[in-house]
């Protein structure tokens, strides 16, 4: 049992191949200006032969190295993904095998784009319950496997990548570094983002998703802050799911995160679903844009329509 958990270190991985808006204009009827105006994306990374597990392990390996923990100390691995092609084994056990982690509890979680915050919450709960002490929490996606490259309304949106954190039990007397989760869903709208069927592609009703995101999410994100006893103006950083710059900006404005760095990794990475928040967080930490110990709101939302967020202390 522990009074809470904290993020010890983070890491990320992106494939080497950069796909630009001009590249996409060669493939479908679109152009750079249109894409920048509608979603704010300039480039995205696309995996070559890397699998979801390869990217997850690469990000997790970096987080593990930065944490000072050894592979032997990891007793739980949770992977958020909605783009793993294989039904079994899961990505978490493959990550364990790649990193030489001998016998961890290992599970995948799928709530699409909000997956990382769900995974972080379940790991925090496991540590509080005494079921784990040192965990890897990973968001990894290969959306390019589920993209219809002839559909200009979706193929410009997505990218591949992974982000990870090492989460550990806090010492006695230490403040928790992961706040209470605010999570939920809007199942009546669950069919507006889909990756359905046997040969599935991502499809979405963009206007319905946009309306839900810009109208409903600000109050939910505020509740995630309130659960941690934090005001939005106290936040040092806001890392929402990187779905669309035109969702991120009004969400930040309506939430009133006036003193926070707002993650906009979508510009260079596109929408990487459950990987987008840990990827953006890891880059903020790498660039030292957020002081260690400062409050950061993570907030995921997407397919389902699910959402989850929590205030963490920056590693």
């Amino acid at each position: 049992m522990s009074a809470g958990s904290k993020i010890l270190a983070v890491g990320h991985y992106q494939p080497a191949r950069v796909l630009t808006n001009d590249d996409l204009a060669q493939m479908v009827d679109t152009n750079d200006e249109w894409i920048r105006d509608r979603v704010g994306i300039v480039t995205r990374r696309i995996a070559d032969s890397e699998t979801v597990a390869d990217m997850a392990a690469a990000a997790a390996g970096k987080a593990l190295a930065a944490s000072g923990r050894s592979a032997a100390e990891i007793d739980l691995i949770a992977v958020a993904t909605c783009t793993s092609v294989d039904r079994c084994p899961n990505v978490a056990t493959r990550v364990a095998a790649k990193l030489g982690i001998a016998a961890p509890a290992a599970y995948d979680i799928n709530t699409a784009c909000s997956g990382y915050e769900y995974a972080l919450a379940t790991v925090d709960h496991a540590i509080r319950a005494g079921a784990a002490t040192n965990a890897l929490v990973i968001g990894a996606e290969k959306l390019s496997d589920f993209t219809d490259w002839t559909d200009r309304s979706t193929c410009v949106l997505f990218g591949d990548g992974a982000g990870a954190a090492v989460v550990t039990a806090i010492a006695e007397g230490e403040e928790p570094g992961i706040g209470p989760v605010l999570w939920g869903s809007a199942p009546d709208k669950s069919d507006v983002i889909t990756i359905e069927g046997w040969r599935p592609y991502v499809q979405q009703s963009g206007q319905t998703v946009f309306r839900w995101a810009t109208v409903s999410l600000p109050a939910l994100a505020e509740r995630a802050c309130a659960a941690a006893g934090i005001r939005p103006t106290d936040l040092a950083a806001f890392v929402p799911h990187q779905a669309n710059l035109r969702i991120i900006e009004p969400l930040a404005r309506k939430l009133g995160v006036t003193n926070a760095v707002v993650a906009k990794d979508i510009v260079e990475s596109g929408n990487t679903s459950a990987a987008s928040v840990p990827l953006a967080l890891s880059k903020l930490v790498e660039r030292r844009e957020v002081p260690s110990g400062a409050p950061v709101l993570l907030f995921g939302f997407g397919g389902g329509l699910t959402y989850a967020g929590q205030v963490i202390r920056c590693p």
Binding site: R38, Q207, T208, F210, T214, V215, N244
Partner: protein
């Protein structure tokens, strides 16, 4: 009951605020996308603001039928009747 002109004037203010449309360009025969350069996401913002201003519900399924300012005026007038 709100007149068509009053609804058009209200929409004009919303369009200026949400999408930077010049109020002088707004008329019932103008197409949101072709004449006023309002894209699909801005259209959602216009609809959300119009719902609040006129106290009506405009479901997502209806938004695609609102091609012109006049379409929106008619829908809002009917919905608030």
């Amino acid at each position: 009951m709100t007149t068509r002109d009053e609804i058009t004037a209200g929409l004009s203010e919303i369009l200026e605020e949400v999408a930077g449309v010049n109020p002088g360009d707004v008329a019932e025969d103008k197409s949101f996308t072709d004449d006023l350069d309002v894209d699909s996401l801005s259209m959602v913002e216009v609809v959300v603001a119009a719902e609040e201003r006129f106290g009506v519900k405009i479901p997502d399924d209806e938004v695609q039928n609102l091609k012109t300012v006049g379409d929106a005026v008619s829908y809002i007038q009917k919905a608030s009747a």
